[in-house]
Each structure stands twice: as C-alpha cells, then as structure tokens.
Symmetry: C2
Subunit: 138 residues, 2 copies
DNA sequence: CTCCTTATTGCAGCAGACTGCAATAAGAGG
DNA sequence: CCTCTTATTGCAGTCTGCTGCAATAAGGAG
C-alpha cells in the first residue's frame, strides 16, 4: 500500500470506497466496467452508485493507478495498472482483443520526447485494426 | 468525388445528407463536433438531428473518410481524413493539442504488422501526456 | 419516366459518463 | 478522544452518443 501513501499528500483522502474500488479491481483482474464495479461494491456499500464509482476511477486514473480504455464495445473498461504494462490490439472485424507488450510503444514515446519534448503518458493503449486472421480476408 | 463512387458499391447510397456532412467537414476544416455539424446542416435540412449525424459519421468513419478522436474535452471530435495524415498530442495539464506527423507512428504500425500480423488502422491518434512547457514544471 | 426494393432518415427513447449540491466523514490539530 | 475543516459521497439531474421503428427516398429495373 506504499503507492497509496504517496497519494495521501496534499489533503487527498484515502476513503473506504476508494480502497474498495482498488481491491475489487485487483480481485477481478483484467478489464472491468464501472457498472460491474458498482455491483461488486454494493455488498459493502449498499448506497454506492455509478456517479461515485466514475469519480473514483477518474481519481485513480489521475494517479496512474488505474487505466481507462475504449476497446470498442461501447463501454469504457478499467484495469489496475501493473508492471509490466501491456496494451491491446482490437480487431474491427472479429472484435477480438490481443495483448501486446509495452516495448512496441517505447520507440514512439522516446521519439516524441526527444523531438518535441512531449512526455507521453501511455498507460494503456488500444490500437484498432484488423487481426492476422481477418486481415487475410480483406 | 471519385472516392465516394467506390463507396456506392454494395447497395450503399450517397444521400444528400451524407454529401452535406462531408461538405460541412471540408468547409469548417479541423475538429468539429457532431452537434456543430448538426447545427451547420439545419439550414439545408431543418429536421436533421444528432442521431442521424452520428450515424452518418460512423458510416464515413467506416469508409476511412472521416476520423473520430477523443481529445479529452468530453466530446468526440471529427475531421476529414486527408493526406498527409496527422495525429495529436494532448496535454493533460494545459489541454493544448499539438499536431504531430504521421511518420512517428509508422514504426509502430510496421512492427505490429511484421511481428503479429496485425494491420493497424491508425487514421487519427490522440496521445495524452505533458507538453514540453508543462513537463518542466512536473 | 415510373415502379419497386430496401437502405437511410427522422423521431423518440435509452444507456453510459459525468456534474452540482447538500450531507457525510477523513484526518489534522488540540 | 473530541473538534473542526473541507474533501468526498450519495443523490438527482444532464448531456453525449447510440438504437428501434415507421416513414421516406436512393437508385436499379422495366
């Protein structure tokens, strides 16, 4: 919980709800929707609602503890940021998502930093396109 | 308008509304929201509504004529896809958007193709992070 | 030019994501 | 341990983006 202690600076509070959201994300693993999280938390907090969950997720995202991704299913999915980081390739045809290693994105981040001084924050990317199987057909 | 003729295959129709959306995108140039497009079209089509505009934009996007991007302002923005393609760096601190050349993304697309057979469709990317000015302060 | 098939529009309605405000509770200070 | 400040929650409401359905119109056939 050391990374959370850092966060407690500047008057930001580590509430039971925030702790529970993080724990739920750890427990479930992989991609989770805000709605799913809300349901999971209702056991401990019967009155919790999606508004609060979305706010907590934004807060966690701002502290790089959670990633938010649009994988093209019409709902945003959230995932605990862990090392090593990984990203996703999303097939526009069969809608499969393929995990891809962070190192593919390092050259891009490095180039943007060197040439433009831009410090890219690539926690979790979703690249759309066509997977090997579907690309053949096209 | 030759690119539009290709689209007319397979029974897809080139309606006045679709033509008008494309023309409005050309006229306005740069990033436009669906709401703005809807307003612009109401002169010619008094009864047009956002539902239709969103559907037309999805259709144009599917044919690679228009790009859809989340630049972090809470609304999706649309832009005519033109050559050379460009992408955007979005500063999480000052919210400035910086245009960046397509060539920065070529190595990534090539690597994904070679190693994984994935044919990335990178029409218009938005990379979040901190711009040179804001990165210094952090 | 007219008819006919069916893709597309307009409309109304819905889910996802977010926000303002009053009530609550985290955590610093005494 | 109690008090106090104020960040956060719960709630209700809003806006964006999308979808089903009946009415309309694109564009191919005759």
């Amino acid at each position: 919980m050391s990374e959370l202690d850092q966060v407690r600076q500047a008057g930001e509070r580590l509430t039971r709800q925030r702790r529970a959201v993080l724990q739920a994300l750890d427990t479930q693993g992989g991609h989770v929707t805000a709605e799913q999280l809300c349901d999971a938390l209702r056991g401990e907090f019967p009155h919790i609602n999606t508004g609060t969950v979305y706010r907590i997720l934004q807060w966690l995202k701002g502290h790089s503890l959670v990633s938010e991704t649009d994988v093209g299913i019409g709902v945003k999915v959230y995932e605990r940021v862990c090392n090593p980081r990984h990203h996703h390739l999303v097939c526009l045809n069969c809608h499969r998502t393929i995990d891809v290693d962070d190192r593919y994105f390092h050259p891009l981040a490095t180039a943007l930093k060197q040439d433009l001084g831009f410090q890219a924050r690539i926690e979790h990317f979703a690249v759309f396109g066509y997977c090997a199987d579907c690309a053949r057909g096209k």
